[in-house]
Assembly symmetry: D4
Homo-oligomer: 251 residues x 8
């Protein structure tokens, strides 16, 4: 945005741009306003991902309105990605954006990525079978950004040999996403084994004193192994995106 501002000032100086228009540009540039939402239509240029629609808490009407606006965008940037989406939403979106694909486990609706050359090496692992949906959200997001993703599920610490059997995968990754509910100890063990960034995702899987994910969240935050950081409970999207950022920049 620094550059945009500098260029703007230069155009004003050279007379190419009137002051009023400069003011307007500053306000309207990076998004479209549809009253219920301001859509960041340029986001994909800056990052590898377009603005993502977080469906939870939005009405179907609102989602459709946003999808329509993105589809109508004249810049040619009109890829759809919607998370926390159920089948009902998918059916409605499909009607106006027939290209979209439905990732059921990940609960993601997305225009297929045109980028076929996936690069780097992200590893997404889960402690249990029930953690898979959160992990899949991370996997799909990272792949949509053009990253190459490996997975290994149900390798939790209650059977430590399961984790060791995937050592090759662990030591080959540029960055690891560790998804775990219950006591969430997976991230600690992995963090002690590898020397790459580990993104820990606590899940709400568990019962009783898990307090909907508080237990693994605290476990991961208190992790003795350095190199581990944490995202919100069940936030597969955030973990996948961050892993993508790190992987893309990795040598």
């Amino acid at each position: 945005m620094q550059d945009i501002l500098k260029k703007l000032l230069e155009e004003v100086k050279s007379g190419k741009l009137s002051i009023d228009k400069a003011m307007d540009k500053l306000k309207s540039l990076p998004y479209e306003d549809i009253d219920i939402a301001k859509i960041d239509t340029h986001r994909e240029l800056r990052t590898s991902l377009p603005e993502v629609i977080f469906c939870q808490g939005k009405t179907i009407e609102q989602i459709i309105l946003i999808v329509k606006k993105i589809k109508a965008n004249k810049t040619g940037i009109n890829r759809i990605i919607a998370t926390r989406a159920n089948k009902e939403i998918y059916k409605e979106v499909k009607k106006i954006a027939p290209e979209v694909v439905w990732y059921e486990q990940a609960r993601i609706i997305a225009s297929p990525s045109k980028n076929k050359n996936k690069t780097g090496n992200i590893l997404v692992i889960t402690a249990g079978t029930s953690d898979i949906p959160v992990a899949e959200e991370a996997v799909v997001i990272a792949e949509l950004m053009g990253n190459k993703v490996n997975k290994a599920y149900d390798v939790g610490v209650a059977g430590i040999h399961r984790l060791f059997s995937i050592k090759d995968k662990l030591f080959d990754a540029n960055v690891i996403v560790a998804v775990a509910g219950m006591e969430g100890a997976l991230a600690s063990i992995v963090g002690g084994l590898v020397d790459v960034p580990v993104i820990a995702v606590p899940t709400s899987i568990g019962y009783g004193a898990s307090f909907n994910g508080l237990a693994p969240l605290l476990t991961m935050l208190n992790c003795c192994a350095p190199g581990v950081s944490v995202v919100n409970i069940d936030n597969g999207f955030g973990a996948g995106y961050l892993a993508g950022l790190i992987n893309k920049k990795s040598k």
Copy 2:
């Protein structure tokens, strides 16, 4: 009430009022007792708003009983305002108070305001699209009190330029209501930009470590920017009412 008490004492002294009647008056004056509720029939005289029916937790039968009593009030003060009302309640109330209007997003049933001259300038903003219902509750309440209200939705801090594009609105307002879930940082930013009171409304929008609104609540309470105060999670009504109080008294 100070005045009422003084006048009462004077009437007793002058003999206009017997002691027993004075005692009775003190008890019965400002409300009507319908056993399940004591309705403050004089409230609109003192404030710009009649007593508001908070529907959540009440049975339809109780709500209808209260509405009937208000409608039957001989003082001429029989405007209906009911919050947290769903469609089913609306249909029942409509039968006995056909003048009422249904504000769907705000979940408010209300007799239309006769006051057409809305004054002042309240700005209601939200961080996201999902926060709109809470914001609308604030908007409708403030408008029913006779305040002029501006709005700007989906201007959360994840895309700070969205917020800056509404700078004119921000700097023109007498008081701002900032509605945000997730991490609730909106109030902090706005509080740092403006020099008018900011009423922060945390919402239960979010998941995981938002703990049903605890996260934005704490964020807003710890706001470094002075001039910010906080109401209960999802309490659009309280924010709208308080904004109305401040706006009405503003020069």
Copy 3:
């Protein structure tokens, strides 16, 4: 800041300002950078209060550095206000800013206000004797902004007649700051009696299940009476500042 930006663009256009200088100005304008802190030297122009030094958590060395920079400011805006300050800090500051006054109960160090014409009417009340330091912080801040402040201490709800004896003060105020620890019910009662904004300040006074102020904080947030908003536990500064903002704008 909108105006500053517009003026800048105009000066660039007219050639008065080179692009590089405009860029610099945008960066350096509203504060002075002393490495450990960025001091907002223009704040008093925009609000009625200069940038306030929050002493808690800062070393004496850091505080003195900031005070020196403010004193050296060539704009003539060099009023000192420091909160959460103990006697030791006061003695050190006094050496380099001999004009400052020490408000012991309020724990505030301040250059005396030149404004002798205090206006409006703020009422600050406390539930108990132990809540007075927090209340005094609010009182001193509001007065330093040029507001007229009334006080009434130890009027908590355990003896409701104490509260009623200050009815005149309650009904005359433009805005009320209600400071209470323990169960914090004071704000609810006052909020039900008056029709002006009530700013509730929970304090950490109490023991056991008060959990360092959590109990009065929740009480105040759940207040049934509308017109009440809440600031952080023990945040007398924030309450005083907000009350000042509202009072100053009141008709």
Copy 4:
């Protein structure tokens, strides 16, 4: 039980009772064992209330089994009282205990009390209309114990005059049950006005930072007014029973 033990020892000494039988008696005396429950069939002799069936968490089959056992009790003590009971349970119980009455608001099923002489004076009050079901649970239990009960609902502190209009009732009671959700300040005010025991019942009525009744619970526990004690959230039964105990013993 002291007496029972002494009598037992005496009967053993005098030879009336063999040692083995004494052992058996000690084990089986005060209840009947039906495998899923041990029913205290003698409870009504010791207190004014038979063993009460807490329905929440029990299957209908379990409840019916317990009712049948009580009905079959040969001691003649076979009065039924069941709390937290819905209509479905009532219908099933009615089939095998046709004498029972259904207190809908209080969610209580009970054999009618034969005691027509209700004595003493308990006052049950609520802050709002939505708190009534919890209050009714207290009222019905206290009445089933033979206590005289007054009530006054919707007298919360947001309109303090409502509370004052019931002063006669407040000052006449031997013991007061104060039921309140939201911020729960009612108990504090009442505790400051009267000199009889106040039993505070927080309710889960509220939203947001009420955290399902945590807010009024903490308010009531931190009550500055002495003479107030607290029972569990929504525990109308406990409050009614305790009020009954106190009232029955009152001069």
Copy 5:
């Protein structure tokens, strides 16, 4: 206060009292205002206890000021009771009120009770030795009100036979105060054995997951045995006062 109000109205009617004086009386009657505190000088008439000074959180200067005012009271009601008082406070108070006694364990300073005829029967028990200070606070307060108090300390449930050895005391009491930290199970057991009110006092004695008394507080609130109510953590004063109220009214 009802009576005071009625009498006032009558005096106004009969001309004995002018309206302005009536207004003044209403305000000033039941307390003396010393700026930092409003002292309820008539309290002892209404209850068996004068206004009690809660020392925690007050400066010695404030405490001395309040004591002086009480001593100077012309009504003859000038008994001193101060709780949460350490030795330093005691020494200072002793200088101006030489009649006071120092209850070290209970941390209470008090003018000796003139009432020598202690009546009724309150039992105060503790689970452990460390809970004794809180229990002593209850004992001293109840005795100062003129109640007869029995005690039994260190009878916690880890050795259930200890509790049973005090059965006589348990069954003779009109009301029982059960003081316990750690897991706080004492109140549950006692509540299941007796048929008189049990006032449960959680203490902050414990460590780790006691969370400063949260554990026994929750235990006591969830007590299955009816007849048990709870006061704040470490609130021996409140428990003693409430037990006194109940005992005094007991047949």
Copy 6:
């Protein structure tokens, strides 16, 4: 595993095993990988229990896949145990594993134990009737491991004589599982009576300040009686398994 590693190294040395095959063995030995889960097929050899399927949070498809894999296991170890299973799951599993039995209260599906010689003596007790499902989970698991289990339900502390009537059972057990919701005091009492390990299981039975089992959890953790340890809220499985381990090793 120490032994397996040593044997492996020896086979490699003697040439029986190639290095690559040794590497493979280390990875694949103790489980089968079916992508969504890694099944520990050898678990029953090491412990008395096969790998248990925790159904909660898994889809029926996932459960069926796991069951199929276990059934197909060529080692002959293909006993099925699935916990937190509802009827729908049972019906589906029955189709492919017709030998399984449905323990409705315990919510367990299991191949019947071939071991008819149950040994030792575990006692499982509950405070109330509603705690039975959690207790039954413990009972069934312990029995499936070949342990002899006694039970005594509804012996909570509100009627302490109920507990004493089962003294014989209490003193005969090698290990006791104490299951309780509400205030959870049962474990404390039992822990004070016996000299064998007590495994305390808090349940989510209760309401209000039980906070879904937090209250009994804290009670049990703060238990003054030594010899008591705690498992997760509602974790009947864990308690039954641990009791089994201890009982099996008992002299």
Copy 7:
């Protein structure tokens, strides 16, 4: 106690014992009452440990009083064990019980165990160096009970190879005590490796989101590996005692 009761009844029957004396015996038997404490003088007969003095929260005077009483016990059972004891307490106790030893790290004062034949095999491990004091409390208690104890400290999961290097110790133990602060994952890993009971002890070692041990407590409670149970935060005593109970009964 069943036996004692039976014998008592027999003596009464045979006339050996009068009823009054039987009553007295029932009350006074198992402890000595010194007003501030009831000392269980027979405890060592029933368990392998005498009554233990928990010093925290007791005054030195109280501790000395208890020690004196134990020393004066005529039964010959006068072994001293005091936990959470600092040096000051040790010096005072030493004066009247010169045989006692001071275990500095474990903070235990104890008469030396006469039992030289330590049996069985308990393993006590810690995650970090800072957890050692809690572990030592467990070690000393278990040894005082006559158990053989192994230790391995600083084997936390951040360096998993450290844990594996003590595999022999892990697989040889009858019962393992796992002491860990921070994220507390040690218990989960160990629980997944061994088939003996694991007693998990969370410690308050850590900072920030460890919340004084809440994080490892929740981790351990949510442990996926079966066979793990948990004691209170920092409760080395409880863990050592329980491990002793299990070890002593192990085949």
Copy 8:
């Protein structure tokens, strides 16, 4: 470790290594055992950092013992890094490791890095002046690993222009560490501006409803901007290390 294992197996096969020695090697390889701690002497080979001594909770004796062992290490890897170290510790360490430097603000003792070629670009920013110590811990750790670090302190959101003035630094960084207490909104704003990983560090700076850092922790976890992950409260070390990992691998 995969490689080490493979090589070991090969050496065993070829006869270079006996089985017993292989077993020993596996156990003793990567650390030295000094009873109170297991020191990972090879860590620096694997990462850019030697094993770090976390001083908090350790005695000076323990720290010195560990330092001595590292100094005595014959591999030549004997660089000292100790965090959370006060001056007293520094003085003692200096005596036996005279090369160490004392980073006062960061509370770190370290052997100076020999690596003079710092590479990449990490930016460390703080919201306030009081957050600097935590930030400095991150800065020093990252620099000791050989990273180039920029800093910008006191750029919190209460004065958003402060943040914008460091835009160049923000857009040039490979990874950003955002340190903030109070409401912690800094990470959200920065996360919305940049497209590189942001590591958010909540601090315990604040008061009242900050609950020792819980408020900024929750804010950061709920951050709407993707690309942000969180470490423990005040965990400057972890953030610095993770930033170092990411920066070192960045193109």
